[in-house]
């Protein structure tokens, strides 16, 4: 696993452009995670856990900024646009904590490998960013595990559930991407085959300029 991860890491970080793209991807991931933690804080009654979620969100925000700034230095546009925020509602408290715990634990392993690869490549500035985040990731993995133990009746089962859910999401992403590819190829073919309709349409539905007649008085339907 370590050898495989190290090889994948070397491949994905072999040029500054690839490092920049990776930094942007991490910035988006951290921003998405920030949204999840922020909304989790607002949906959690337990004050201690809510405050931990808030601290976690604050860390993720810093991480997203650090990654985006470095991506910008390496030539990316530094724009972070991420989705997120629904995880707690979707998974429920125990599975959510298990999922976040596993994600953070995995991030520690991955960051160590990436830090090592970047150092070997001589990109010490990028490597330092990963190094600086490790303490945060360790803290996140630790508090989510403690919280999981206090929230879940069977923490080990929740961890297994979260792992299965995580794999299922990965599979769904893959199938969705396949479906998207098939759909887009079909849509392109359809579009190109439509050129007679396109020209006919210009004749039957020409572009109209000037004020068009009042729309009929319509209420809601």
């Amino acid at each position: 696993m370590d050898l495989w991860t190290a090889a994948a890491s070397r491949l994905s970080l072999r040029s500054p452009a690839r490092v920049a793209a990776r930094m942007s991807a991490f910035a988006r991931a951290e921003r998405g995670s920030q949204l999840d933690m922020l909304l989790a804080a607002s949906q959690t009654q337990d004050l201690t856990l809510a405050s931990q979620f808030l601290r976690h969100a604050h860390d993720e925000s810093r991480h997203a900024r650090a990654f985006a700034n470095r991506a910008r230095e390496l030539g990316e546009d530094g724009w972070i646009h991420a989705d997120g925020g629904r995880l707690l509602r979707q998974l429920g408290p125990a599975k959510f904590l298990a999922f976040v715990h596993q994600g953070e634990a995995r991030a520690i392993q991955r960051f160590l490998v990436i830090q090592d690869t970047l150092t070997q490549n001589g990109d010490t500035r990028s490597a330092a960013i990963f190094g600086a985040l490790l303490d945060d990731e360790t803290r996140h993995a630790s508090y989510t595990r403690t919280a999981l133990d206090s929230v879940a009746e069977n923490p080990a089962a929740e961890l297994r559930n979260a792992r299965r859910w995580s794999l299922w999401q990965g599979y769904r992403r893959l199938t969705a991407s396949t479906a998207k590819g098939l759909h887009d190829a079909g849509a392109w073919l359809l579009y190109l085959s439509l050129f007679p309709l396109a020209f006919w349409l210009r004749w039957v539905r020409p572009v109209r300029s000037g004020w068009v007649e009042s729309a009929p008085e319509r209420g809601p339907q």
């Binding site: 599979y171 769904r172 199938t175 098939l182 759909h183 079909g186 006919w200 349409l201 039957v204």
Partner: protein, 53 residues
Amino acid sequence: MSRFQTLSELVRHFLHRERWVLLPLLGVLLLGAVILGVSTGLSQVAPLVYALF
């Protein structure tokens, strides 16, 4: 079932004199959407559908 209401409203919208010219395109697109939709739905219970599709 509620999706049938949407489909019937959609068809009624496109049956207007000015819009029927778009119906063939819409039909093909909807067919594609149904195929994708059904396979997405099936993937919940039979995840190998995509691998074969």
